[in-house]
Amino acid sequence: MSHTVLVCDDAIFMRTMITDILAQAGFEVVGEAETGSQAVEKYRELKPDLVTMDIVMPDMGGIDAVREIVKQDPDAKILMCSAMGQQALVVEAIQAGAKDFVVKPFQPSRVLEAVQRVLG
């Protein structure tokens, strides 16, 4: 069975692109979230194999969402989606429990490599 993914980003553009990249590689995107709190809620509901998480989101940011999700499920596999210049935030996200990160602009090959690493 294909792996399930929850895509979290406040931009539909980004969600669409990530979903396209993952779907073409055979992943099943089972949910999307626009805010950190939505991500936490949907993770609880969907228990996806993988989460892609934007850092800057309204309501609750991506890093706090990582903390909350890892608190619920220490094995959660979360891939951060960051932008250039967010070094400190990425470090913080990894300390919070994120398993890997990709940097915008996304190259599909790099996204898929990171996903494979996270899923082990």
């Binding site: 931009a11 553009f13 980004m14 228990k47 194999d49 960051s82 210049g85 935030l89 470090v91």
Partner: protein, 639 residues
């Protein structure tokens, strides 16, 4: 990867964020010490930056990045907005919008943003001077002096030296992942430089650690290299192997099935237009099928025709619903427009929008932006008086402009109201007499007459022509546009109290229910949107008012329009009891006298390029069920 397929989505979403920026900037301007808008601004610009980078629009990305850096400083510094700063941000937002628009049409190279970029950088550097901080990130600790991997003899385990690929992005994050991986292999000590340095933007990607693990060197190298972006791993001598057992990552999470899928998708507008065209043709074909079924009197065909009718009606309703768009999508740009205008003219104006959630067909809404802009400009420029004049007249110094949308029966009414000086009827009347628009002996102008005078191309009573509204009030432009949309305009103006313009529009354009009427050999369609009722000539009392033939209906006088005379039809004789179709629009009524009524049906509205000299009473054309075209009468033109 083909990015062009995402361009439309990029544009649509960027526009939303830029529109949000306007709202947030206006809010910030109103409450300069409130900091809530800054976070929203930062996020919006950050999102546009990320999307632009993905699309490969380097200049848009750069501009957004600089704006973001400044916003980040403002956000962290918790500084109230100064006027200078707000003006800069407004300007930068506009530049960013322009940049986005140019980029998607492949004209990114034409962008000239040097000036605003320089101003943004200047503002950021002035603000950043006391506390240097990285854009998009936390305050960065001072960069460590060139961190060479240093071996600490005292720590147990083998020395592991790691070098990341020079092109790897965010090397600090990657280094931390390597460290975490190593921690999964055994005990890790003496990380050099210490992990705090990983957060610095200029971390170079070389570090070392002591790993106390029983694993052979090649397994360690393989495991750490697998973290990604690792150029080389060197594992030193085995000095003090510890007992740290490798820890395997936990089992994969439980699979979840379906559910929770996102329930919205975005569809390009042209797809919806295409769908609408197809359904239009289906409706025409359905009409023919119904006719055929009626002729054949075959119950099987009849049943099928009824089924097809029902299905196509449902389909049509669904697609019309899908095209419905809340008016805020166009209204949201107006607060900024009014604010800029008021500033430019040195007036105090508060602006309010009501009924933002009212929906209209996207095609109609898209055409409304310009007419509404005209009316709002007029309201601020000609309507609202300067504060000093308002005080003299005992009014609050701040003028008010209100934009309202409200649903009426089958139409939507959009009103622009100001509490300004009102239109000077005396001056307008003089002008109207000079132009021969009204009787030279008239001493008043009704609202209707006022509108007719205002709608004359180039009409203006303004003593000075301002750059804002230009020459003339432009009501003629507004009227022409509304006419094309099957809409109408009404005016109310009271001296000293203000002016209000009401636009009435059909909720949807493409398919409407219409009365099919005949005049001579031709058929005409009259959309039901503005039809109040139908009566028969001879069954109602007729009278003459102001030289016009009229009927008396429910104690009100309704002037008549003889379509036969209007269109110059001479063939056949009119029937003795001609039907009268009574149109109603706001307060105005008019009875249209036709030869016959052929029933109601749904018609598909097609655009219509009227040849010069055509009477302004047609708004479009349609194809009837028998394939013969008919013209659509414009209620506004007949009133």
């Amino acid at each position: 990867m083909d990015l062009s397929q995402y361009a439309e989505l990029f544009l649509a979403e960027s526009r939303e964020h830029l529109s949000a920026c306007n709202q947030l900037l206006l809010e910030w301007e109103k409450h300069p010490s409130g900091l809530a808008p800054v976070g929203g601004l930062f996020r919006a610009v950050h999102t546009v930056k990320g999307m632009a980078a993905t699309m490969g629009y380097a200049r848009v990305t750069d501009l957004a990045h600089r704006m973001e850096s400044l916003l980040d400083l403002l956000r962290r510094g918790a500084r109230p907005a100064t006027d200078e700063l707000l003006q800069l941000l407004f300007r930068a937002r506009d530049a960013l919008e322009h940049a986005v628009e140019l980029s998607v049409v492949g004209r990114e190279r034409e962008l000239e943003v040097a000036e605003v970029v320089a101003d943004l950088d200047h503002a950021a550097s002035r603000m950043a001077a006391p506390r240097p901080q990285g854009p998009g990130g936390r305050a960065t600790p001072p960069p460590p002096a060139s961190p060479p991997p240093v071996e600490l003899e005292s720590a147990p385990g083998r020395l592991v030296q790691v070098t990341l690929r020079p092109e790897a992005p965010l090397k600090g994050g990657r280094a931390l992942l390597v460290v975490k991986k190593a921690q999964g292999l055994g005990a890790v000590h003496a990380i050099t430089p210490p992990p705090a340095a990983f957060e610095a933007d200029d971390f170079e990607g070389r570090f070392s650690l002591r790993l106390d693990s029983p694993l052979p060197a090649d397994r360690i190298v393989a495991a750490l290299t697998a973290v990604g972006d690792v150029e080389g791993v060197a594992v030193g001598g085995d000095e003090a192997p510890g007992s740290g057992a490798p820890v395997e990552p936990g089992a994969a999470g439980v699979l979840a099935e379906g559910g929770g899928r996102s329930r919205h998708i975005r569809v390009a507008l042209r797809r919806l237009d295409g769908l609408m065209d197809l359904i239009g043709e289906l409706v025409t074909a359905r009409g023919r099928l119904n006719q055929l079924a009626a002729e054949r009197r075959d119950p099987a065909i009849d049943d099928l025709a009824i089924q097809v009718s029902r299905l196509s009606s449902d389909l049509q309703a669904e697609i019309i619903q899908a095209r419905m768009t809340p008016v805020w999508q166009v209204f949201d740009r107006f607060p900024r427009l009014v604010r800029d205008l008021a500033r430019e003219l040195g007036k105090e104006v508060s602006f309010r929008v009501e009924g933002k959630e009212i929906e209209l067909d996207r095609a109609i809404l898209d055409e409304l932006g310009d007419p509404l802009m005209h009316l709002l400009r007029n309201a601020v420029d000609h309507g609202i008086e300067p504060a000093s004049e308002r005080r003299r007249r005992g009014k609050p110094p701040e003028g008010e402009v209100v934009l309202t949308a409200a649903r009426e029966r089958a139409s939507v009414a959009i009103t622009v109201t100001d509490d300004g000086r009102g239109i000077d009827r005396k001056k307008t009347l003089e002008r109207a007499k000079r132009d021969g628009v009204v009787d030279p002996h008239a001493d008043t102008l009704t609202d209707d007459q006022l509108l007719r005078v205002l709608a004359r191309p180039g009409f203006s009573t303004a003593e000075t022509v301002t750059s804002v509204s230009g020459r003339g009030v432009g009501i003629d432009v507004v009227m022409t546009r509304l006419r094309a949309l099957g809409g109408t305009i009404d005016i109310r103006s009271e001296p000293g109290r203000g002016t209000s313009f009401t636009l009435r529009l059909p909720v949807t354009l493409a398919i409407v229910r219409a009365i099919i009427a005949s005049v001579g050999p031709e058929r005409y369609a009259l959309p039901l949107t503005y039809v109040a009722e139908t009566v028969e000539f001879g069954t109602v009392k007729t009278t003459v008012v102001e030289g016009r033939e009229a009927i008396v209906l429910h104690d009100r006088v309704v002037p008549l329009v003889h379509l036969r005379r209007l269109l110059g039809v001479t063939q056949d004789a009119p029937p003795p009891r001609s039907p009268i179709i009574v149109l109603e629009m706001g307060e105005r009524r008019s009875g249209v006298v036709v030869d016959g009524m052929l029933g109601q049906q749904e018609i598909v509205v097609k655009g219509f390029d009227a040849p010069p000299g055509t009477l302004p009473v047609f708004s479009g054309a349609t194809i009837m069920a028998d394939g013969i075209p008919a013209l659509i009468l414009d209620a506004g033109g007949l009133l």
